[in-house]
């Protein structure tokens, strides 16, 4: 697949719009369908496409394992951290209303933050899973496929 020029060009053209769409879904979740989870999946899909076209090793260089693992942890920490922020500011755990001066602003801020956390972890986990499966298959294909 690496040698297929047309595919590479098409993929190169496709990936940016997919990424844009992912961002849109991420931050549009408040108004229409969408949110961190969906955005994460789409973002990961774009990346997987990249890996399929340009090869696993290239993809790995672009996004090192260490970064992926860190992102996986950080997303969850962001979510949980927002909860703690509510707690420190005088509310119960996960109370967003106290995050800003009025309830609506606080809720909005809180939701945006946690959706970002969700998105981060989901992207990272999806990429991890893909690498794990694809990594194996690459090995197999070299030796016995």
């Amino acid at each position: 697949m690496k040698q297929h020029l047309v595919l590479r060009v098409v993929a190169k053209m496709l990936i940016p719009p997919i990424l844009l769409f992912a961002l849109y879904v991420q931050f549009h979740g408040d108004f229409g369908p969408g949110g961190g989870f969906q955005a994460g999946v789409i973002f990961a899909a774009a990346f997987i496409l990249y890996a399929l076209v340009f090869g696993l090793e290239t993809a790995r260089r672009v996004v090192p394992d260490r970064l992926v693992h860190t992102a996986m942890a950080v997303g969850l920490l962001i979510f949980a951290g927002v909860g703690f922020a509510g707690l420190l500011l005088g509310g119960n755990y996960l109370n967003y209303s106290v995050l800003a001066e009025n309830q609506k602003a606080g809720q909005h801020l809180g939701i945006t933050l946690i959706e970002f956390g969700v998105g981060t972890t989901v992207v990272a986990v999806m990429i991890t899973i893909f690498f794990a499966f694809a990594g194996r298959s690459a090995r197999m294909s070299d030796e016995d496929w």
């Binding site: 860190t70 969850l76 920490l77 949980a80 509510g86 119960n92 755990y93 996960l94």
Partner: protein, 494 residues
């Protein structure tokens, strides 16, 4: 302020520790963090239990959304006690874990292993603490997923760990899905997911076939998770082939938490008045419990792998717990809750002893136990005491459980059942006796020279063994807490 937020911290502290653990990357640091978090969780659980016993039920509204719109944590004596069991066992297991994990799991995976462990702990605590039926499902699945992985980590020693984990995954997922169906049906006819609210609304519904089916699905779903005979098929291999530390931890906690969830649904949500329930208790739980006690104990006698033997024994012991439930009286329920705690001590101690054997000998088969009484005296002494406790010899915790269980049977007027209870403990004499005989009365295999396990493993093991005796000699604390918990459940105060 901290005191007021204890319920949230109980869950969130280990939850947050998990990703941090991943970030630490180094195995020893991850272990240290897990250890600290476990002890913190234990401290929180102790404070919660104290607060509940002195001040009554605690309700914590997450996000400050009042139930039933938001998710509520609702802690009474019953789940505070379960929290204590889970975090207590975790606190004891971790010092033990270091050497054992180092010998069974490859170095590069240690931080991931402890991350999974923390997630498992989080899930167990979450199931116990929550007052929301769907939230319970979410945490149940956190635990389950983490447990599948942890069990599979035994593959380094025996590849059967993989199939064991897979079977567990399939059966566990069926169980979880049944549970979700049950919760869905309840939601359908009541419109709520909050347990206390559900209890009120179900009582108002009266005779309703949908509620009936929901009840059945919840019981089967949780039955799968708690390995209620004959839904226990996943358990023996999972316990037998998991890494030692995992065997200790899940044997002592995970089915206990599922039993707790069942109690919560039976008594708090459906309530003893729920007409079908009385029949279910008598005609379903009672025979299944007794069949499980006998069948599993008998199978245990013929096991070659001692870890597997203890696993079957666990199925039998779960029979005791379900039996206590089936009496439908406070004493029986007290026995069940008491046994949750006591059995955690017993099986924790026994599996730790086997962990020590595996650590030195590489396997826990009956052949490997030959002559160990002399070569690993402290480990085998612990095994013997744990075994006596399992049998229910006086001055051990096992006896206290049995005492209340028999009392419950007599109170319910079923004295033949009382005789059956003791009859099964005699089967325990057979399978424990077999190991003791081999360990003490047979010479060690030619050329095998092993020494005692490292101190970091011996001390936690003996802590549990001493607890076996201590709470067997002075059971006033545990019995009073269990009694309070049982009354809280049966009394209908959710």
């Amino acid at each position: 302020m901290i005191l007021q937020h204890l319920p949230a911290l109980q869950i969130v502290v280990p939850l947050v520790a998990a990703p941090i653990c991943l970030l630490l990357r180094r195995g020893d640091l991850a272990w240290g963090l897990t250890l600290i978090v476990s002890w913190a969780a234990l401290a929180i659980a102790v404070m919660l239990l104290h607060a509940v016993i002195t001040g009554g039920v605690i309700s914590y509204e997450l996000g400050d959304w009042a139930p039933p719109w938001g998710i509520e944590y609702r802690i009474d004596a019953a789940n505070a006690f379960v929290l204590l069991i889970v975090s207590g066992i975790s606190a004891v297991v971790l010092p033990y874990a270091r050497a054992s994990v180092a010998s069974e799991i490859e170095e590069s995976k240690h931080s991931l292993f402890y991350t999974a462990y923390l997630l498992c702990l989080t899930g167990l605590l979450g199931v116990a603490i929550t007052g929301d039926a769907f939230n319970l499902f979410v945490f149940l699945e956190i635990t389950s997923l983490a447990t599948y992985v942890l069990v599979a980590m035994g593959a380094g020693r025996d590849r059967r760990a993989l199939t064991a984990a897979f079977t567990y995954l399939v059966m566990g997922t069926i169980g979880a899905t049944f549970f979700v169906i049950g919760v869905g049906l309840l939601y359908m006819v009541t419109g709520t997911l909050n347990m206390a609210d559900l209890a009120l609304r179900i009582a108002d519904l009266g005779d309703n076939r949908t509620v009936l089916v929901a009840f059945a699905f919840l019981v089967v779903g949780l039955g799968l998770k708690l390995a209620l005979f004959p839904l226990h098929l996943w358990l023996p291999n999972a316990y037998a082939y998991a890494p030692s530390v995992v065997s200790v931890f899940i044997a002592a906690t995970s089915t206990k938490v599922a039993v707790y969830a069942l109690l919560r649904f039976l008594f708090t949500i459906f309530g003893l008045e729920f007409s079908v329930e009385a029949l279910t208790l008598t005609y379903v739980f009672l025979p299944l419990a007794i069949a499980g006690m006998f069948a599993a104990s008998t199978v245990a006698i013929f096991q070659v792998d001692i870890k597997r033997m203890l696993a079957y024994s666990s199925v039998a012991q779960l029979g005791y717990m379900v039996l206590g439930v089936s009496f439908g009286n406070v004493t029986g329920l007290t026995a069940t809750i008491l046994h949750l705690f006591n059995h955690a001590l017993i099986k924790g101690g026994l599996f730790m002893a086997l962990g020590c054997v595996v650590y030195r000998c590489g396997s826990a088969s009956i052949d490997e136990m030959r002559g160990l009484g002399r070569q690993m005296p402290l480990t085998m002494a612990a095994f013997v005491i744990g075994g006596l406790s399992l049998i229910g010899i006086p001055l051990t915790v096992g006896f206290i459980s049995k005492w209340y269980l028999i009392l419950g049977a007599l109170e319910a007027g079923w004295w033949p059942v009382a005789v059956l209870i003791v009859a099964t403990s005699l089967l325990a004499v057979l399978y424990i006796g077999r190991v003791v005989e081999v360990a003490y009365l047979q010479p060690a295999p030619e050329g095998r020279v092993v020494t005692e396990a490292p101190r970091s493993m011996l001390i936690p093991m003996w802590v549990l063994i001493v607890a076996n005796i201590y709470f067997g000699i002075d059971a006033s604390l545990t019995t009073s807490v269990a009694g309070t918990a049982a009354r809280a459940l049966i009394g209908g105060t959710p």
